[in-house]
Symmetry: C2
Subunit: 214 residues, 2 copies
């Protein structure tokens, strides 16, 4: 019953098994004991590879965040950069909705997250935004993405969809509520993003005008 010739566990195997549990049974469905069972091992063994449950969740988080695309700033187009970032960010969260509460809650101090924020900030500054504005824009965009992901995490119960269906019953049956919710969710996000970018574009134009005058 001692240590096997070849290790039974690895952080990677643990993280992906854990993510599968979270994806199928929710954040509350993940327990160290259940994870151990799935991996055919005793609970205590897990603690040879991970300090505690929180560290395991952060590992999963890092894997998810790695999907975010921050390359849209390449040709100096800040608008394209933000849009690409926001959309891929949202897509990454949507792929694992049950992880969103943890991802949105946890300290953003994850290494990859920090590198990403830096790329966004750098891209905005390179495109001509003042540093302070770049910081605010980065934060604002994150609000949008995180908010969209959180709220659609509660999909199917959403107030707005409910109201829409209640008020305009002729537009769709109750049993299509889920599909409606997804649709409204997508469109709301795009509207928010585009309107926000339009508002920023106004400000950017004024910024350039002021700089020309000088």
């Amino acid at each position: 019953m001692g240590r096997p010739k070849t290790p039974l566990l690895s952080l990677d195997r643990m993280a992906s098994a854990a993510l599968e549990i979270v994806d199928s049974d929710g954040l509350d469905g993940l327990s160290m004991r259940r994870l151990a069972t799935v991996l055919g091992v005793q609970v205590a063994s897990l603690y040879n590879h991970v300090k505690n449950k929180d560290e395991l969740l952060h590992e999963i988080g890092n894997q998810i965040m790695a999907q975010v695309d921050v390359t849209g700033f390449r040709d100096g187009d800040w608008r394209q950069g933000i849009a690409t970032w926001a959309r891929s960010y949202r897509a990454a969260l949507r792929a694992h909705p049950n992880m969103v509460p943890f991802l949105a809650t946890g300290p953003g101090r994850r290494e990859t997250a920090l590198a990403r924020a830096d790329a966004v900030h750098g891209g905005l500054v390179a495109a001509g935004w003042p540093p302070r504005q770049a910081t605010l824009i980065g934060a604002s965009t994150k609000y949008l993405v995180v908010g969209a992901a959180m709220t659609s995490f509660a999909r199917g119960f959403d107030d707005d969809v409910q109201i829409y269906v209640d008020r305009y019953p002729h537009l769709g049956q109750a049993h299509r509520l889920r599909a409606h919710a997804d649709e409204i969710d997508d469109e709301s996000f795009e509207l928010a993003l585009q309107a926000f970018l339009d508002g920023l574009a106004q400000r950017f134009a004024e910024l350039s005008k002021a700089a020309d005058k000088r």
Copy 2:
């Protein structure tokens, strides 16, 4: 040891004691056992007033959400209506940051939440927005508020603040990071809200123009 002449417990007393625990020690700090201790009662007694822990949290949530102001649409000014709603919504969440993950996560089907969403939707339609757009705008605004509340819940660890401080150390010391975070948070939210509203105003103007032409 039987039932006392006058009840020891009430839902209200339970909810406010529970909220105090959550405010001071976080969502994880609240356990039914600890709540019972604070109230000078046995755990099992709590279940005479509440079906389970989740119902207790929803009760707290309802109390918090009651603070949200939805009266800004009164004089047909949709922009003012949205702004008032968004700001008071954010303020309510900020007053109890530890509750935000639950509030943002849970089904938006809370009675008061639904009534509020209805007021917003109605206000937008009355101001001239098509129903579908009103729904999208309501959802978008919620994204902003929830995202802002969620992300500032992780205050002090925020990527954007960190980047800002790292890059421009002359602008502030590390020990003032918390103050910086609050400031950036406030300004980011206002920027996001105003830019979003500006973007919507453009769309609204085009809408009116199209209507005139007809």
